[in-house]
């Protein structure tokens, strides 16, 4: 089990991320992505929704940097537009996973007991399903759509997060300062908030960044199958679906959304790795 061995203060972590060139680049990439997501409409080279049926599957040119899609829409603009979903979707799933996994994990780690056993068994059960299969099952219940898909993914992620939080909480709880806090009668909620949470922030943050990347990949898979983002909304995953159906016309159209996705997942993973290194959480294999 890994334990945080160095300070996990936000400033500290940020500084160590920015110090390494690889993670600094990754961090910069995410900032740019956020910028695209928020300020997208201001910077589209063209309106991503405007169709130009006379100019379908155009090659890359100065007017259309990445060409046009099956409806003549500018691919570059659509990629930028889809970045909004690339940011929101993982946030939804990670949010759901945190909502379920964090409080349960904290309680189970600190107090153990019935909550721990029951939640643990449930976690094992959900964990025994492949992620996509579980997400499919939940989408079958909730119905297709982006939000439903991301909630499904969040539910599937929560047992893993629960385990990480539980483990980290247990390690921190073994520290003497927690024992002293409890001994002086500090109520559980306060102990959790003041003592435990800040100290598990690091492994939690590592897990969250990795989950963001995985959420994006699973969303793309679900949208590709047709169960995630529904037209006319666009995510990189649904763009890949369109690219797939039109493979024969335009083999290149597969590339831009894929690269956008790979770079984003890569950025998340790199940041996660450098946080892990910065705080001394060497995964002992």
């Amino acid at each position: 089990m890994t334990t945080a061995t160095r300070s996990a203060r936000p400033r500290h972590v940020l500084r160590s991320i920015l110090r390494r060139p690889s993670s600094a680049t990754a961090f910069g990439f995410i900032v740019v992505l956020l910028f695209f997501a928020i300020a997208g409409p201001l910077i589209y080279p063209h309106d991503p929704e405007v169709q130009d049926l006379g100019n379908r599957f155009a090659d890359a040119s100065w007017t259309h940097l990445l060409g046009t899609d099956e409806f003549g829409r500018d691919v570059a603009s659509r990629i930028i537009q889809a970045s909004r979903i690339a940011v929101i979707a993982p946030l939804i799933s990670v949010g759901v996973a945190l909502l379920i996994g964090l409080p349960l994990g904290l309680w189970a780690g600190l107090r153990g007991g019935v909550v721990d056993s029951v939640a643990g068994r449930l976690a094992d059960t959900v964990l025994s399903l492949p992620a996509l299969v579980g997400a499919l099952a939940i989408v079958a219940v909730l119905g297709p759509g982006l939000v439903n898909a991301m909630i499904a993914i969040g539910i599937i992620f929560s047992p893993g997060l629960f385990r990480v939080v539980r483990g980290a909480t247990m390690s921190v709880a073994e520290e003497t300062f927690v024992g002293s806090a409890v001994a002086i009668g500090s109520p559980t909620r306060r102990t959790l908030w003041v003592h435990i949470l800040p100290n598990i922030a690091a492994p939690l943050l590592v897990q969250v960044t990795i989950l963001m990347g995985v959420a994006l990949l699973v969303e793309a898979s679900l949208s590709f199958i047709g169960l995630g983002v529904q037209p006319p909304d666009a995510s990189w995953g649904s763009m890949l679906k369109a690219a797939y159906t039109n493979q024969f016309h335009s083999p290149f159209s597969v590339v831009p959304p894929g690269i956008a996705m790979v770079l984003t997942v890569l950025a998340f993973n790199t940041i996660g790795d450098s946080i892990r290194d910065a705080v001394g959480l060497r995964r002992r294999t």
Partner: protein, 333 residues
């Protein structure tokens, strides 16, 4: 690779057998418990559908008669527990119910659709292990060199890549741009080895690369770590070096976490194969699952989910056993 006790293969260590058997039984018990809980959860799926399940399944344009049929099929009038016991007793005997739309047995449909999926998944594991471990060992042995750095870069990329995107890229390059391999479809092994493998290789590669990347990363880390261990120094002090050293001292010790990684990747592979099959238009379990979800064919979904869980639990059990076989310390623990 043979464990050090190979020369005792004719001499059975009974204590070890007993302890191992106990361990196996305990794991099996745990696995069965989990599967039972999975069955409960999947059964509850239908319960959790907002609104009236029968109506939702039938769709918007369904007639009253259709809705009633579906309700009867699913036995939605009966109380929950009774329904569960009926279903569960069927499950234990291998009867997973019937598909809502074709009325064929779910179990039969799954078994029919399984072969391509199984073949591709196994092939992808083989590719992943051969590629990932070999490359990882080289990278670990030549730490810091250009080999190591190239491998690490490709590994990081491989992990970030969605399998289905890689599948499409491979199709673009190897099937569309140059007609070397088929872009879609699947043929049975009986059609001939080369024919069959030409349909398997692209999907298996697409699926296996991400696992290969994880394996390469872990193997590299392990090998690099093992190299710093004192017993490697002792082995060198005895005159061991080169392939002898790698084979007998390093690989065996670095293999331990590799087995664990494979176990963790099993879930990812089972999920990824669904989408990869969609890319290649293969009628395996993947398309079965997708259609079942799209049609809200709940018995099929339940059957499929349960089936997947069984596979994952079985794989984890095998991984635990393999871990015990490779790492002698665990056997007598």
């Amino acid at each position: 690779m043979s464990p050090g006790s190979a020369h005792s293969s004719f001499h059975v260590r009974w204590t070890e057998v007993a302890v191992s058997a106990g361990m196996v039984i305990r794991r099996l018990g745990g696995g069965l418990l989990v599967l039972w809980l999975v069955s409960i959860l999947t059964f509850l799926l239908v319960q959790l559908i907002p609104g009236d399940p029968a109506e939702v399944i039938a769709g918007e344009n369904a007639t009253v008669a259709e809705v009633a049929r579906i309700r009867a099929e699913l036995g939605l009038d009966k109380p929950v527990l009774e329904r569960y016991f009926e279903w569960f007793s069927g499950v234990i005997q291998g009867d997973l119910g019937n598909s809502l739309f074709t009325n064929r047995s779910v179990a039969d449909t799954i078994i029919e659709a399984a072969p391509p999926t199984v073949v591709i998944t196994l092939a992808s594991i083989m590719i992943a292990v051969v590629l990932g471990v070999t490359v990882g060992v080289f990278a670990g042995l030549t730490q810091g060199s250009w080999v190591d750095r190239t491998v690490s870069t490709f590994a990081t990329l491989g992990i970030a890549m969605p399998s289905f995107w890689l599948a499409m890229v491979l199709v673009s390059v190897f099937a569309l741009a140059n007609p070397w391999l088929p872009a879609t479809g699947y043929v049975d092994f009986s059609e001939g080895f080369w024919e069959w493998s030409s349909y398997v290789i692209l999907p298996a590669t697409a699926l296996g690369v991400a696992t290969a990347a994880e394996l390469a990363r872990h193997t590299r880390g392990c090998v690099a770590d093992v190299l710093t261990r004192p017993y490697v120094r002792t082995a060198r002090a005895r005159g061991a070096s080169g392939t002898w050293l790698v084979r007998r001292h390093i690989v065996r010790n670095a293999a331990i976490p590799v087995v664990t990684v494979l176990g963790l990747q099993a879930g990812r592979l089972l999920g990824g194969v669904i989408v990869v099959e969609a890319v290649f238009g293969i009628s395996g379990l993947g398309s079965l699952a997708i259609n079942a979800v799209l049609q809200r064919n709940y018995p099929m979904i339940q059957g499929y989910v349960l089936f997947s869980a069984v596979i994952v639990v079985a794989i984890n059990l095998i991984v635990d056993l393999a871990y015990g076989w490779i790492n002698p310390k665990v056997r007598t623990a």
